[in-house]
Structure formats: C-alpha cells, structure tokens
C-alpha cells in the first residue's frame, strides 16, 4: 500500500521535474548528509547518545564483541582487543578488496568471515540482530572520521559497475538512482525529502522500521519503490553500489549509528 502510494506520488513529482539533464556527482562543498534533510527533532535524537535508539545496537554489539563464541571459544576481543583502537577508521574505508574471494567485500561480510573462519561459529544471517549489532559497533568506532574509501586499484572495475547500476533505469517505473538522488535531490517524493544518498550513517536506526537496518535494506526499499526486483542481501550488485556510493561521499563524516525517518 505504502509502496503504491509512494509510486504514484513519484510519478507526479518526477513528471513535473525538468527532463533529466546529464547526471553529475555533487561537488564536495554541496554534499549534504541525509541528516541535513531531517527535522530538528530527528536531528536531536541522533545527536544525543542517550536518546538515539541506534546506540542500543552499539551496546549489543559491544557485548557480542566480548563474548566467546564457536568452537574456538574466542571472542572478537581475543584477537582484536579493544575495538576503540583496533577498529578505528576501519568502516570508513570499506568495502575493500578481498584477496580470498578475488572481489570486494563489505564490512558485514568481513565480520562474517571472522565469525565463521576464525571463531569457528555458525554463520550470522545478514540483517539479523547479531550481524547488525556487530556491524554497528565496528562502524561506530569510525564516527566523526571522514569516509576514506580504499584506493586499491583492483576495486576500480567494481566501482565502475556500481556507477553503471546507479545510472541505469530500473523497475516498472523505469527510474535510475541518479534521477532521484542527483537530478532531484532536495526535491520531494510525496512528503519525503529526496536526499543525496550518501551512505554516511549505516547501519541506521530508521524510525519507519522501528529498528536498525543496513545500507542494503535501505537500497532494497528504494528499489521496491521503483517496482524493481531488489537485489539479494549480500549480492555483488549491492557491494558494487556501496563502493560507488562511498566514493561519491568520500570525505563526508561517518555518523554510525544515524537516525533516519
């Protein structure tokens, strides 16, 4: 129902917009976080660690970080000790090139590798509570740092594919990400402001979800809005899109865990 409403609103809004000019990356000075498009109440909620519900995920993640698990009975802390030092800045450069897989891997994927191969514990489900909590906890250690995407040249073709996905029209409504987030950023879709789509605060606490969720969940929402068949969690397409989005947002401040409407 909601999706249908959003879709009809979207046709209205975008049909009034001028025909799509060539899409261009926003220059650094004009970059705005989703935070800047929120009302003062939601901003206040994000800024106060004692009212930001995402901080409950950080606490959950901290407990998991220190809990022995799997056949090894090792905790994350057994190998990485204090996350405040060892994980500082890590999230700001992900996704990175994974030697073993021969392709990029995102933070949740890397945490999953440590969990299975090093802790010898059962795999975590993407978007499950534990995976989100650990990713939020690790991501939080980069809060306030600039996004500094890995410059590994082996990532270039994957980032290019991400850019191609970003500009490709998709779904029954036939929109590309760029048509909303570059051409119409700052406009509205129904009552929701269209942000520039900078992935600065993930995992986020989204008020609509009443829960923490990953960037991939956010992107699936956008894809469903265009009535496209959303990529699967953990799919190569999502990691390529993330590579491109992070590149596009390089230098912006990490906010994890951000609050979003």
């Amino acid at each position: 129902m909601l999706a249908r409403l959003a879709a009809s609103a979207l046709v209205l809004v975008l049909s009034c917009a001028p025909p799509s000019a060539q899409t261009a990356e926003t220059p650094p000075a004009g970059r705005k976080s989703g935070f800047d498009y929120m009302g003062p109440d939601s901003q206040a909620m994000q800024k106060d660690d004692l009212s930001n519900p995402g901080m409950l995920g950080v606490l959950d993640g901290e407990a998991l970080w220190n809990a022995p698990a799997g056949k090894s009975q090792k905790s994350c802390a057994s190998c990485h000790s204090d996350a405040r030092d060892s994980m500082k800045g890590v999230a700001a450069r992900y996704p990175v090139f994974d030697e073993a897989g021969g392709r990029p891997i995102d933070l949740a994927g890397r945490i999953g590798q440590c969990r299975e191969a090093r802790q010898e514990a059962p795999a975590l489900t993407r978007e499950g509570r534990e995976s989100l909590a650990l990713t939020t906890y690790v991501g939080h250690q980069s809060r306030g740092m600039p996004l500094a995407p890995s410059t590994d040249a082996r990532l270039t073709p994957f980032r290019k594919s991400g850019e191609a996905l970003y500009t490709r029209r998709m779904g029954q409504l036939n929109f590309s990400c760029a048509q909303c987030h570059d051409d119409n950023a700052g406009g509205h879709l129904g009552s929701a402001p269209i942000p520039q789509a900078h992935p600065t605060g993930y995992p986020i606490y989204r008020l609509e979800w009443q829960a923490l969720g990953s960037l991939q969940r956010r992107l699936r929402n956008c894809m469903v809005g265009t009535r496209a068949d959303a990529f699967a969690y953990g799919s190569p397409e999502f990691i390529e899109l993330e590579l491109y989005l992070n590149w596009r947002a390089r230098g912006m401040e990490v906010e994890t865990p951000a609050v979003r409407p």
Binding site: D48, D49, L50, S51, P53, M55, L56, L59, D60, L207, Q210, A211
Partner: protein
Amino acid sequence: MARALINVPSKAKRGDIVEIKTLLSHPMETGFRTGVDGALVPREIINRFVCTYNGEVVFSAELFPAVSANPFISFTTVATDSGTLVFSWTDDQGKTQVQTAPISVE
C-alpha cells in the same frame, strides 16, 4: 535481558527540576501484525513503567500497543535528597526489568 539507556543528571541542587530520559530496547509487538506465515504475531509489549525515587513513586505510565518499538520515556521530578532512582518496565508476561541510577543532591 533488554538493554536500557538512562539519562539522569548525576548532580543536582536541592529543589531543582531535573529531566530524566529512558530508552528501553523492546520490540513492542502490537499483536495486530501478521508474520510471513499469515498468522498473527502474538502481542508482546511493555505495559507498565514505574520510576521510584528513594522508594517513592515519582512517575508511572501505562503503555499500549500504539507505542513504538524501543519506547523512549522522558519526565521530570524535583531533586529532594541524594539517593537512587529505580526504573522498572513490566511486560505482558508479568516479567519486570529493573535498573537503577544514583543521584547526588547538594
């Protein structure tokens, strides 16, 4: 046990009005939603919140299914004496979670 974030000023002057904020991690399942199998997900909410200050109730609330997940409750009280604030959240099963915070009043 669910996690809670509690914000109580650690120090206050006698007679000051102090603001207290609490955030509890809880799904607040309404009982009106259906799961993937089409069956109703059973209701499971926090239905009562109480705060006592040195044994005396200073704030209490009944909660209903329309309250969002991870309920945030904020209220004020007057700083009278140094001591302890005790917060308790009770769910539909009758289980109560208790957390405390000290306050020092000069």
